[in-house]
Symmetry: D3
């Protein structure tokens, strides 16, 4: 269960409204790496965590903080939209290049739909969607996704920091940048902790390593003609997992047969000349199960 205080986590006080910038800031709410994504990604990871204790508790701490970040950005956008010339007619706007530039750079839905507030969309107006998040239950894979999310989040925030000279906006973004710095460090530390606790290795999942085709787990296939691909650490020496040896396959040949689709079901009307015969039946079911027993029981040819 959650509780809320009306106070924002940090100050959100633009010196002046700026409706053009208000559109750009939408990226930090509804973009694929915006605050909404980390909020929901961490919440679902926390709820999906299988172990009570420090991991789950930490994830819920960060997740709860992130809801407050959505609140900060949404508040900033509303404040940046104060007094925006959104209801000016085109003729009026075209008569004043500044107004025209502002209108051309605004998100029209911030006025028409949200009445001067933020929407749950990115800087191109595309709505946030639930496929942006991942919570697999495997903490190593999830924490790696979190490191990536915080990295892209900080890069986008830094780019946006360079796109304004409003001291109040910059002040808020200095806080966001700092939190992104900490959260990158946090998830990197959490990855180390998982290894230290013996819960995960370097390759995830830490399973099927004995079953996979080990001979294909080591080399870069050189399939483009850029000549320098073999010069990196990925092509020589011991791999990051400490087990495999990195390699470089300079002239790789395909190992498989020719790609082809099987003969089609005539009732699906694929174009077909019959050259590959008729389709085999999908051989499913097993005579060893219940149905098999029932079939046997009902089969007059069986004793």
């Amino acid at each position: 269960m959650f509780r809320h205080t009306d106070h924002l986590q940090f100050d959100v006080k633009p010196e002046k409204p700026d409706p053009v910038y208000a559109r750009k800031l939408q990226e930090l709410i509804g973009g694929a790496f915006g605050e909404m994504t980390v909020t929901m990604q961490y919440l679902f990871q926390g709820w999906n965590c299988r172990m009570p204790g420090k991991y789950k508790d930490m994830i819920m701490d960060v997740a709860t903080e992130e809801i407050g970040h959505v609140e900060m950005i949404a508040t900033m956008i509303a404040r940046l939209l104060e007094g925006a010339p959104a209801t000016r007619a085109t003729q009026e706007a075209a008569a004043d290049p500044v107004v025209a530039a502002v209108l051309g750079g605004m998100d029209p839905q911030q006025a028409i739909v949200s009445g001067g507030g933020a929407s749950l969309s990115d800087s191109n107006g595309v709505p946030w969607n639930g496929r942006y998040i991942v919570a697999s239950g495997n903490l190593l894979a999830d924490f790696r996704a979190n490191v990536a999310a915080e990295s892209h989040g900080r890069i986008q925030t830094a780019r946006l920091y360079n796109m304004t000279d409003d001291p109040g906006v910059k002040d808020m973004l200095k806080f966001n940048l700092a939190r992104d710095t900490y959260h990158q460090n946090l998830w990197l530390a959490a990855i180390e902790q998982l290894k230290e606790d013996g819960l995960e290795g370097t390759v995830t999942p830490n399973a099927l390593l004995d079953e996979e085709h080990a001979e294909h787990a080591t080399s870069l296939w050189h399939l483009s003609d850029g000549p320098d691909a073999g010069e990196g650490r990925w092509a020589t020496g011991v791999a990051a997992d400490g087990v495999h040896q990195n390699g470089f396959l300079a002239d790789p040949q395909p190992l498989g047969d020719k790609a082809s689709a099987p003969p089609p079901d005539p009732q699906l009307y694929a174009t077909y000349d019959g050259s590959r015969g008729k389709p085999r039946s999908a051989a499913l079911g097993t005579e060893a199960g219940l149905v098999g027993k029932v079939k046997d029981a009902l089969d007059p040819s069986k004793p």
Copy 2:
């Protein structure tokens, strides 16, 4: 420019068709972490890479390989759908529990739309979309996203490996698992290489670290009541970047003012009692620029 050979990178030979499994495998084509995502993510990262040389060459090698993985999974799905009972009527199907189970577990569009082939959708039939990929130009952030993608890719492949007992399918997945193992190692090595080459640090972007509010770059805000959140490496000791000191803010208080939206534009019809006055104008433009000069030139009150 690309070239293609009809031979698959690795064998794709299911022992028997299995239309139920063919639906599940769609996740590896059109899911958020499927082969389509890594193909397009790496292609755009390669095309967007700003430096000729080993990074770009390596990215293009891997990207080109991944198109071939989409081809392998698409071929496998078509072969698993051979002879599927897709055109059976409900009555017939309901009369045979095995057929009914197969039909209930199939993706209907694999028959109705694709005529017995794969679609560019995930295992729930949701189409792949371009927001799944990221290519920011910042290689550290991008490689971290790649590590995450390969981690989730290997986990999903491993789960799917456990959902079949067809030796031909398992044989192909053993190859995919191995490539995912290598690709995890590869992107981890590439991250090390970036640091070794002095191109990136630990926190990305390697910028604005002096401008951000440093005092907020170090501590976990304890906003959920799980008592163990302070016990991990993220709360004590030196941070992963070797610079910051990790901390734990046990009883954090909000630093900001009260959240509120500004007074609204009356022409947008937000409900309002007037208690906060009228909106300020959006103060944009600067008298120092061209428009300012023009305004001055045209202003009759100025000499």
Copy 3:
């Protein structure tokens, strides 16, 4: 800013796992009228509210409660998925009709992607998206949307209540149903309060009523041939707003000219026989504005 406690708002204790039902419950998380929608709709309405005081405070109370409802459903889904036969191969499953039925009714991504947990999708696996919510700043319009959301939410919950006989699931849903009952009453009361406070009328927005074409604000246009459309309260008597008189236009005729598209820009290659002449220019800008003044200043023909 938000805080969280690990305790759920209400008990979430299924008697037995039920992975088929776990898929259906996704509708209450990620459906268009699920808990995620009301959470985000109320949060954005609260953040976008222009008046401090009882409305904003109440909206934030309810919004904060709803995050906890997402948590409850996500937890319920994970518990319903305990021990689900998700990793069974098709052959095995087909041999046991019960297992086959379960697998056919499961959401495959709950296993392959979420590892036995909820996703942020609806019962067909379609991800939640940000266009499901509305926060217009106009509280009457928004509260009406809230009444609708709680109505559809309660109907869907009631339908789902009838689809299970697990006493633990039913116990949780009895709580959700009760909250939906209260929230329907709450938003209806809030609508009355708005009128009582003189902030809104019956028609929203409470504006332009004098400018609109009043003669068209009263009658049902009878455009389908069902004979009984004129028998309802909408066709006679005083309208809900207490101002208009309801009417019925039994044989309506179009009031407009013929629909047609204007002559096309030749450089856009619409098929065209020239019969409608050439396109007019888009006449924009006004001579009265800054640009007009500049034009005049630069026009050699003007003194």
Copy 4:
């Protein structure tokens, strides 16, 4: 079955083309509360209506009218785009601030894709989608959604009315505003009619009111710290349904156990320390059904 006349329901005659406004008007075609939404929402409600008679007939009347509104807006957009400077090169445009402002404010797809016509998208170019509509079969819930849709539709139309000074555009919008006024009154009247006819109550669905946890159907949970939330009609007096008593829970405590996810299936590779044991089986099926009988029949241990 439908029939069409080339005459528009009302005049659509802009005085002058205005391509910037043409983009904004897209919201009324393809926005979540645009004409397409009410068209399809009402059509599906009509087709899904379970009773012949006045409700179904009225719904089909309004639905049929709304198709004509899509036609009106699509025609208006094409006419506003006449002669738009869409094919001007950037250099040319940048040389003329008016042209530049127009191009910056246009929807590029209206030229590149639609050749100077409307698309089925909103004012940010996001395509309309079928999840915007609802037709539940429950007329009270559906009519409430209709009231909300007409309310947001009229607000957006009113906002757009303020964004133009073209008398022809305003003339058309005066008609749309009037129809929205009538349609708000109509759906409010229809809700009253449902109650008068004894078909629905105040809370919908009119069911399970005796089964739900009645003690939780009355109070606002005070989970945010805004002090005024208890001052509204929602917190005191008789509820809108005339049955419940409104209340205010000033210091609510969670009623549930700790949130947690169950022990995971090892084959799904969730990170797990084993602390919560192994997962229970999903106990499905019942011995009382057909399968139970078959199992019994086949069980050698049973007589």
Copy 5:
């Protein structure tokens, strides 16, 4: 403006309900090539048509018919869902293989959201969206898209025809198949008519044929190693446009320079070693336009 009659264009009378088939039929409503797509595609083409007369009139005839097809399929789906066991609990269902098969094959939203009616989604539950349609204003391109849509529509209908043995369903589909046959012939005839009327040629748009690089308008680039690609009519003889000569480029070499991205803006933080220098400015604007004149007028260095 549109009118509606309650009578369906053709009979829609299933002999028996069949909820599994009701899900599959969703493809014909909300699929990319379903009735909704052709309805909206033709409506927008008609509204966007630039010439009064036979083309526009015919398009509007067909478009209006298609709305009635959506109505037919929506009605069929509701009738097929009559008495569906949607509210059965999992245990009950698992006890009866027929019920379990039915539930496994149903679309859960048809019950939970639509209350036993159709939704505006495809057979996987993905909502229809506005990007499925095209109306470019160029009738040749649009009619070709219409031929394709009717072809895929008839194929999907034919596949669905094979998936049922209900005589009432088959009767309706025999009508749909026949209309699809006619509509394929119709659009093919309309393409011939366009050429006969001298409005369009074979290649569309009938423009820029003299400006394009003619030497690249004739040959198949042989970029895959399948040996038979040169044996078709596309590789020899006169092209379909009667002008070009088809050819086969057996060993094509790239004509372009190396792919590379330019030096990055440092404020966007792309990883960069400086090897390609600094970015050039985007050289926009022209001194010949209004701004150029103003600049000159204000430039103190100019006389």
Copy 6:
């Protein structure tokens, strides 16, 4: 399996950066008829092709070329974005009309997300999605979709050609236009080849023509009141398939019964007055199948 060379298929050398045009070009990458669509459409058609030989080989040739087209456009966009004023603050931009115009016309995500590179979205920033492609297995239907795609592709390219005066951009587009010309001819030739080879006819699928209601396969239903619809080739003479006779149904009457939805399941809470009785059961299963036999075997009333 694929291979890649760093050389582009054709030169991609803009004379000057142009970030406004860079946004428009996104349509050719991520639009519904952009290079990504033809790439994936042809790849899936090739992989889904059921016959080895000239069709499959040709499809794979073209598909492989198209990946290189995505590469060309992505490279062009990055080069057009060189030095874009993306990080300018609003105030600065508003002071210079040229900069303001550029910023207003840019895609903000090209800077914030992609760091000065292309994204996988269209010119309105909407991400590409997998439902844009079709690969049905039926080559006639698929090739018709390909003709349509190349037609819309060439139209959009031609429109974009008119929107620039940069000689380097125009040079690349002259190549793209030429390839689109050839590809239109190619798919038209391939359609002729299919007929010549006896694989497909004119109506697709070439099946069920004897079963469909032949009397409805010939006439235009005149459902709109435009008077000229009967004057085209579609209304008289022999149809394109050489079999049917085209006709015109001047005053069509509906052939079906009244549209209605069946009585509802009470547990789904549709509003209902009981006037149509109770719902019939969904009569599924057949006594002739396995379940029937089992039922009989277990039925004590049967001998």
